[in-house]
Symmetry: C2
């Protein structure tokens, strides 16, 4: 059933779609306290407001940029060489790691010596690193020592998106700039269900959140190519994209393309869920070329090593797999250590049983051996490995509900409590930890998931798959789940694992990956707005300002998908002149509500109804004052 | 700017896509208390469960069917003749209406006599009807007299979807049928925010809700072709699809196609928002061929009559337009009577001003005349027209926010209060009324919209456009708004007006219409599940049961879009044999969590872990008992 592998390492090239520039965008770097802290952002240039609308300036908006060097025209991209190891110096200067002579896992060593893999292998010149004997190299460990790492500072700069400087510069530029600042800087106070988001993210705040376990920075010392990012309820909501071939279809090149495609559209993390014969080689190509953290489910590969027979799994095989992958640079492992023997029979009464692959493998193992899961019994041994490389836990929800019927049932909640218990064990070892969540859950039962997770897992970041809010729309599960994802993100989930339209039906292609990502960027941003994340509304305000002022290009370019917005517009009005026209195809030139509003304003401003106008002016001034109030805007009410 | 009209009445034919049968589906009719009450449903046949999974029967699931005679192979469809007037007898036998000699609006009479329109005109043989002098022919009026109309009984049967009979028949069929009933009949108790949804909808309940104003049955006496449906917070959440050409693009045939396409995928109502020179003729074709209620914004046509100059509008022109459209059979009118003079200046401080076309037209009129809106001052005159034809009000939110920035602002909320006041006036005349709502609203401010609407508008049905939960995704506003729609539907909104991917960018084509509708069917159903609408979960349970049992065809066919689900599956595994295979492309044959779960169950059932298994069995019995508890399942907790 294994398809032949179509890939040649010698001629592998980057997907041209991954390196195309975004329209009107420039890659900029914000420098931190030292020159090697250079935080990438995408600056989207805009036109100034037409004189007829007020003529104010609209300086470039800075967007969070997950696309790495691929969208940097100054970077030479060669996927055979991989990305530059930007964190190498930071890791080295800490002096708590050492270079190994070669892979210390048996499997890793064996693959390296297998000449039959030469044509598939990424030629890594670097040796793997590991903590020196007795050392703990996790970001959590440093944070708890009071150390602010370069990674933490990087993350702080990245989260702030230059918002404060942007508004301050506008404010300083005169009355017209102040008008732009007043419109862009206003934001509805959020409802954050107990999150504690500061107005400005400082490196020290990042440190304290990581120390507290409320946020993680996935940053394996063997993935120095990664640009640090943070996952936690007091930061921007992140999204994860799953890629990976299966035994049925298979190509390394396609998976690298899916990764570069996913980060182009905004994936903050990518999980490689490949199965089949060449998981090891596929993973190497992905990690070496990925500027975002990479997660895996080591159990999938361990199962391949025992030819798919779950009952033949052992701690020894699993352990070797963890080391193999940790030395390749995987940043977090999904580990289904909460699927305990006693919980398995609880799933017998479900409508859809155990739908997690990892969960079902472990359930089968437990029943076959009449034994407690080796992931649970060896959990401290696993921690000992994780802290040598700074691999973070993503404690898997192997018993998540696979249907609305099974939502929030006893099996699911029993596992969640165990994940809370394991979180405390991981934290004892200073191992960074997040918790995976469901699955299929109707809207009104979502909050209970979040409430229990916060309570039982000590506010460790929650990382959910959707949840899907109904089962009736195969082919549209990005949407059934995007609804649930926005919801649970608002309540406090830190990272949303995307679902593509192909969920339940087939493997996603690049179009599906993009649809899944855009849907989840929407959900994450809707959640940020609802939580009242400081400055999250700037992008909405800027885009709506462009829309109202008929700056069509700016409207397209500030959106999540400039290509599609432009294409949709052009389907009806393809001429370039229409992009500066003060009307659109929905109403035509003589019947445009935006245009009429302009007339209403002009009329009113000319003194149309003096007493009413005075009232309106008074309100407007009050609004501006509200914006100038600054911090209180951004505080929780 | 008006494009030439591509249409020929003599050769117009139905779109073949509209009459294709759904796979494995049969049109069935549930007969009411008299033979002419025949409620259509779509019965989706399923395979029985394979013997290896238990072998239980899976009788056809009955789905709510908005597609009208188009999907009835027994119906002869000729759009030049229109649909059969199924309500004609009911309207006639009430004896309170009379046939008019011809259109009583000046414009309607003039269009009929214009020979230049012959090639465009639908040849209606029937004369318009109107209430006899002094009569009130609204469903609300009958309801308040204690009369249960055939329309009300039709609606009650339609809402129940044979759920009770379905489960009862399974229960009576023996132990295997009981297992299916237990799995399909179980539902999570909902959280309905004060809705009062009964376990079974009776005709008397429908009557009481209509009398109370908490629900409406849009049913113009001049649209006897329509199949009655109900809009109210204690019924299934409905969706509306907007169609309509613009002055820039234009074809009558395309708009009829969009209507038949929209109802095929589940639009409960369709609004014709056409502009341009042939609104009257386009509307006639749509209504005569529509089995669902049709709504319009009469102001659009009135504006055409004064050549687009808002200040030239007058009550007389508007009044004639209302009568013209009422006699064509429009079931509800969006009327922006809440845009009062005093509220217009409140919009001057907005980021995006007035984005409603109707709202901006009326704002301009008010300012030009320094006068209160004629829609407001003539509101009782309008009521007098509405009750002669049973046209329902859809009180328009002309001041809805067009950006996140403007959400829940003073202008919006001032208008809402006025809509509440007008609702009381409409109810004084027994005119059915619903209230339109926003717009652009961040997630956490949605509930306030619903709360205020319920409070200020006496629980008249809320009918919202989205709301869009962020502005940053032009090209994906079906999704930004589907998130908000699911949310507000859960809180109590009765009908969700769809938004297509082209919103803000261009006019939707058929692909966009379908994407918008499926997204909104998802939102409406997610809301029904969250509210705990009795039996709403049956479809989810049936689909997930099919999924778990590898009944691929049943999984596709029970979904909202069988075509897409099948196509997605076949992209990876095109062979017919794969649709009976017990694996799928995501994991391949040797690595399937569903399959492993089956093994776990079999193992456990064989006595794998006796003490645990006994525990699981006990829980399963308890679950079945819970289902058998019946009514309490469906009650609000």
């Amino acid at each position: 059933m294994n398809a032949p592998l179509k890939f040649d390492a010698a001629t592998a090239t980057v997907d041209t779609a991954a390196i195309a520039p975004f329209p009107n965008s420039t890659k900029v770097f914000i420098e931190g306290s030292r020159p090697d802290i250079r935080v990438p952002m995408r600056a989207v240039a805009q036109s100034d407001t037409p004189a007829s609308f007020g003529g104010e300036p609209n300086p470039p908006i800075h967007l969070y940029d997950t696309s790495g060097p691929y969208t940097d025209p100054a970077a030479a991209i060669d996927i055979r060489r991989g990305l530059a190891p930007l964190r190498r110096g930071w890791i080295g200067e800490r002096g708590d790691t050492e270079e190994l002579p070669g892979p210390s896992s048996a499997f890793g060593a064996q693959r390296l010596l297998d000449a039959g893999l030469d044509s598939l292998r990424f030629e890594l010149q670097r040796k793997p690193r590991r903590a020196k004997a007795g050392a703990n190299v996790t970001q959590m460990h440093y944070a708890r020592q009071g150390i602010v790492t370069p990674e933490m500072e990087f993350v702080a700069l990245r989260e702030n998106l230059r918002r404060k400087q942007y508004l301050a510069q506008l404010d300083a530029s005169g009355p017209l700039g102040q008008r732009t600042a007043a419109l862009l800087g206003r934001q509805h106070p959020g409802q954050s269900f107990g999150a504690a988001i500061p107005l400005e993210i400082t490196p020290e705040f990042v440190r304290s959140e990581v120390a507290r376990g409320r946020a993680i920075i996935p940053a394996n010392i063997n993935h120095p190519e990664s640009e640090p990012m943070i996952i936690g309820r007091n930061f921007l909501v992140k999204i994860n994209a799953n890629i990976g071939n299966s035994a049925v279809t298979s190509s390394i090149g396609e998976e690298v393309e899916k990764m570069t495609w996913a980060i182009r559209w905004g994936a903050d993390n990518v999980m490689d869920l490949s199965t089949g014969k060449h998981i090891h080689e596929t993973r190497e190509w992905i990690i070496r070329n990925s500027p975002v953290p990479i997660g895996t489910v080591p159990l999938y590969q361990a199962l391949e090593k025992v030819n798919g027979k779950a009952e033949d799994l052992s701690w020894e095989i699993y352990r070797d797999t963890l080391i193999e992958q940790a030395e390749q640079g995987v940043d977090y492992f999904t580990i289904h250590a909460g699927v305990r023997l006693a919980y398995v029979p609880m799933t017998a009464r479900r409508l859809t049983g155990i739908v997690s692959r990892g969960g079902s493998i472990m359930a089968k193992w437990c029943l076959a051996h009449h034994e407690e899961s080796f992931l649970y019994t060896h959990f401290e041994d696993i921690c000992a490995i994780m802290k040598q490389y700074d691999v973070a836990f993503s404690l898997g929800d192997g018993l998540r509900p696979g249907s609305i019927y099974d939502a929030n049932d006893e099996a699911q909640l029993a596992e969640l409590a165990t994940l809370g218990e394991l979180t405390q064990v991981a934290w004892k070892h200073d191992v960074q930890t997040m918790i995976e969540g469901p699955g299929h859950v109707p809207l009104h039962l979502i909050r209970e998931n979040m409430r229990l997770q916060l309570e039982q897992c000590g506010e460790a970041p929650f990382y959910t798959l959707g949840p899907l809010t109904t089962d009736i729309a195969p082919g549209y599960d990005h949407i059934t789940s995007g609804i649930g994802a926005a919801h649970i993100g608002w309540y406090g989930t830190a990272m949303l694992c995307y679902v593509t339209p192909k969920e339940h039906l087939g493997l996603p292609d690049k179009a599906d990956v993009k649809d899944g990502i855009i849907t989840y960027k929407i959900a994450a941003h809707a959640a940020d707005l609802a939580k009242g994340h400081p400055g999250a509304q700037i992008r909405d305000n800027a885009l709506s300002k462009a829309r109202f002022e008929f700056r069509w290009e700016d409207q397209f370019n500030l959106g999540l998908d400039p290509d599609k917005a432009r294409a949709f517009h052009d389907e009806t009005l393809p001429k370039e002149s229409s992009k500066v026209a003060h009307f659109c195809s929905m109403c035509g030139p003589h019947f445009c509500s935006m245009k009429i509003t302009q007339e209403v304003r002009a009329y009113a401003a000319a003194g149309g109804i003096p007493e009413q106008q005075a009232l309106a002016r008074g309100m407007q001034e009050k609004a501006v004052e509200f914006v100038r109030g600054g911090a209180k805007l951004y505080r929780e009410v």
